[in-house]
């Protein structure tokens, strides 16, 4: 929860319940008003369409898949509010933002926005690597609605914010990627738009840069700018947003306090995962065994959904056999959000074999490991094999584990390591 800058005394009676600890919102007028917006994309089934085909088959209707990106979406963002839009990939949140930004045209419904608008769908859109920072900043400023002279006047501030004073005359291609991102972010921050639409810009940059982003978001919020942030990072939402909206399959699921929306989002996610897992395990049900559950415990034996980087945690897998299972072996793997398998082990490592399982008999595998993996979200997969090889059943993402930490861990895993560094005083003789 964001801390109010002494805002408790000014709390308004009309403030939404649950938002009591938030800084008082300066105006209660809606500056963004979305009413019943629909958006459908028509994707032709034959992808490549040419004039030749059109000429050869003038009457053939092109078959299209209709993709309902937004269905009857309505919401309001009040003046000075920090409003989060969350949802899974493909839930329509970016489409909504693009409709707000005037990049896509809504099929139905009405969108109204008061005040100067700056969309930031991506950092550094329209940057040319062959131009200097000055040219790029001016060009970008004009793209965002400034006049060329305004954009030039703002240049010094932008460069100061990006801490690039010494490299003003370099072409952008000579900048490191970090410098480019800093420049792009500075351009964004220095735009004096009253309504900012921001899409996942936090996804880029290193931890230090993200920290800077967070600081800027705090500042912008305290300045009373209206910000709409699209993200799937619930932590960011709970940290900054006054209110949030959850979209799923193009529909509004919930609008409300960030914590509540976050909880609903997690539920939705898990429910979907469970459905998917159920589908996957369904095939296995007839084949002799199911993975009944996967969970994580801390060293005190409590079930947890998260653990600190570098701490020990125990992953448990419960398996039930439906028919006699010779030499059962349970495989467990940990995959990150990109689907990369970070760690895997099998019950075969346990030393003593548990022997054959009879129908109805259960087996539990426990793996205690130090979670020296990159901070982030992980999915746990388990499978049961017969005779050491043949797959009996599989359960994908039967459980999720969030590994958190304060330090940035750049690598996927932290290896046990020691570091030595010393200066070579004399050339090595052979």
């Amino acid at each position: 929860m964001p801390h109010p800058p002494g805002g408790r005394g000014r709390e308004r009676p009309d403030g939404a319940r649950g938002a009591g600890s938030l800084p008082a919102v300066p105006e209660r007028l809606a500056v963004v008003d979305v009413e019943g917006v629909h958006k459908t994309f028509r994707v032709p089934k034959q992808h490549v369409m040419t004039l030749k085909e059109r000429a050869l088959h003038p009457f053939r209707r092109v078959e299209v898949d209709e993709l309902h990106a937004l269905r009857d979406v309505s919401c309001q963002v009040l003046g000075g509010e920090f409003f989060g839009i969350v949802g899974r990939n493909g839930s329509g949140k970016s489409t909504l933002l693009k409709c707000l930004a005037g990049i896509y045209r809504a099929d139905a419904g009405r969108i109204r926005i008061a005040g100067r608008l700056s969309p930031f769908i991506e950092l550094g859109v329209g940057f040319h690597s062959d131009l200097t920072a000055l040219d790029n900043v001016v060009l970008n400023g004009v793209m965002m609605g400034l006049t060329p002279s305004q954009a030039r006047a703002r240049f010094d501030e932008v460069i100061a914010f990006a801490e690039l004073e010494e490299h003003v005359d370099l072409k952008l291609k000579n900048y490191s990627s970090g410098m480019q991102v800093r420049l792009a972010f500075a351009v964004m921050v220095q735009s004096d738009a009253e309504v900012l639409l921001i899409d996942e810009v936090l996804a880029v940059g290193d931890a230090a840069f993200q920290q800077k982003c967070f600081n800027v978001f705090h500042r912008l919020r305290d300045e009373g700018r209206t910000i709409v942030l699209v993200t799937h990072d619930m932590l960011a939402v709970e940290r900054f947003c006054h209110r949030a909206m959850l979209l799923d399959a193009g529909r509004v699921v919930q609008v409300g306090a960030p914590a509540e929306v976050g909880r609903r989002y997690l539920e939705l996610n898990f429910q979907r995962r469970r459905d998917e897992a159920a589908e996957l395990t369904h095939a296995g049900a007839s084949s002799g065994a199911t993975v009944r559950a996967i969970w994580v415990e801390d060293d005190a034996g409590r079930r947890v959904e998260s653990c600190a980087h570098g701490e020990f945690a125990t992953i448990a897998v419960a398996v039930e056999a439906h028919q006699r299972l010779e030499d059962p072996e349970v495989h467990l793997s940990l995959e990150n959000d990109d689907g990369l398998r970070v760690f895997a082990t099998t019950s075969g490592q346990a030393g003593e074999a548990p022997g054959a399982l009879e129908a109805g008999e259960r087996m539990e595998m426990r793996v205690r490991a130090r979670m020296s993996v990159q901070t982030g979200r992980y999915g746990l997969n388990a499978s049961v094999h017969r005779g050491g090889a043949e797959l009996v059943t599989y359960r994908g993402r039967g459980c999720e584990l969030v590994v958190f930490g304060t330090e940035p861990h750049a690598g996927l895993v932290e290896l046990e390591h020691t570091v030595q560094a010393r200066r070579e005083r004399e050339p090595v003789r052979r």
Partner: protein, 283 residues
């Protein structure tokens, strides 16, 4: 959502992207900035920069000149043939370059189109502007060549911009047509490269209208590009030439290329405006 709040009276409806939209000032600023940037990137990126931009039509001119006036003896009956050839090449080169680049313009600027809000018409127009800046500088070189060749300077030279206005307008219209159609139909690119080659030989670039058999002259001049080139010949290169209006058979007939030109312009604007709102989705 609980009870809806009152909407700020300053709110305006967001209608999505369009071909124009926004103030004229912003539209002009954007077109100018993007066109100028493209121009600098294209012509001043390399070491010799602008020299190359100038060299290309000059080299093409050199080749065509040797072939058509020394080998094929094409220009024998035409007064000041080398000057005519150079002027025509520079003017036509503008048309091919601008339209050729515009085919890919929207697709190449996908990042901007999908992530920024701005009047879509800026994209083909800035492409044409880039080529137009190049045209102006080339014309300066052409006029130097014309004077050096020994054509007497005349007041009619000042009428050259009168030719450029319809030329640029038509080029822009074709650019709008191509850039928006390419998003839907990817074979616009090869088709256009053939069509523009046909236009090159179908217009009096390498020859003058007098070389065309009598019966076909009028048909050739119905092409507005041919009409403009032929008029340029009378004004700049050869005052004794008939002039396009006379060659086509009087002012009445001159309305045909005018109508064709206006139709192309209207078609270009109409198609682009129709496509603009959804062009970002189709990329």
């Amino acid at each position: 959502m609980s009870t809806p709040a009152a909407v700020s009276p300053a709110a305006r409806t967001i209608r999505g992207p369009s071909a124009f939209g926004g103030t004229f000032k912003r539209f002009a600023d954007l077109t100018w900035m993007i066109g100028l940037t493209q121009y600098r990137l294209t012509y001043f990126g390399s070491a010799l920069g602008y020299l190359w931009a100038l060299m290309r039509p000059l080299l093409l001119f050199g080749v065509l000149y040797v072939v058509f006036s020394q080998i094929v003896k094409f220009g024998d009956g035409i007064r000041n043939y080398p000057v005519l050839l150079l002027l025509n090449i520079v003017l036509f080169n503008f048309f091919t370059e601008a339209t050729g680049r515009s085919v890919m313009a929207v697709v190449e600027n996908e990042g901007l189109v999908r992530k920024m809000h701005f009047p879509r018409m800026v994209i083909p127009l800035s492409t044409v502007l880039t080529a137009a800046l190049n045209l102006v500088l080339s014309l300066v070189a052409v006029m130097v060549f014309v004077a050096a060749y020994g054509v007497d300077p005349r007041v009619e030279w000042l009428l050259l911009p009168v030719l450029l206005v319809p030329l640029v307008a038509m080029t822009a219209a074709v650019a709008m047509l191509l850039s928006s159609l390419y998003v839907r139909f990817r074979d616009v690119a090869p088709i256009w490269s053939v069509v523009s080659l046909a236009l090159f030989y179908g217009s009096p670039v390498l020859y003058a209208i007098d070389s065309v058999p009598e019966g076909y002259q009028r048909a050739v001049l119905c092409n507005p590009l041919a009409f403009l080139l032929e008029q340029g010949r009378q004004w700049v290169v050869d005052p004794s030439a008939r002039g396009a209006v006379e060659a086509i058979g009087g002012p009445g007939w001159a309305l045909v290329p005018l109508a064709v030109g206006l139709a192309v312009c209207a078609l270009g604007v109409w198609v682009f405006e129709r496509e603009a709102p959804r062009i970002a989705e189709r990329l």
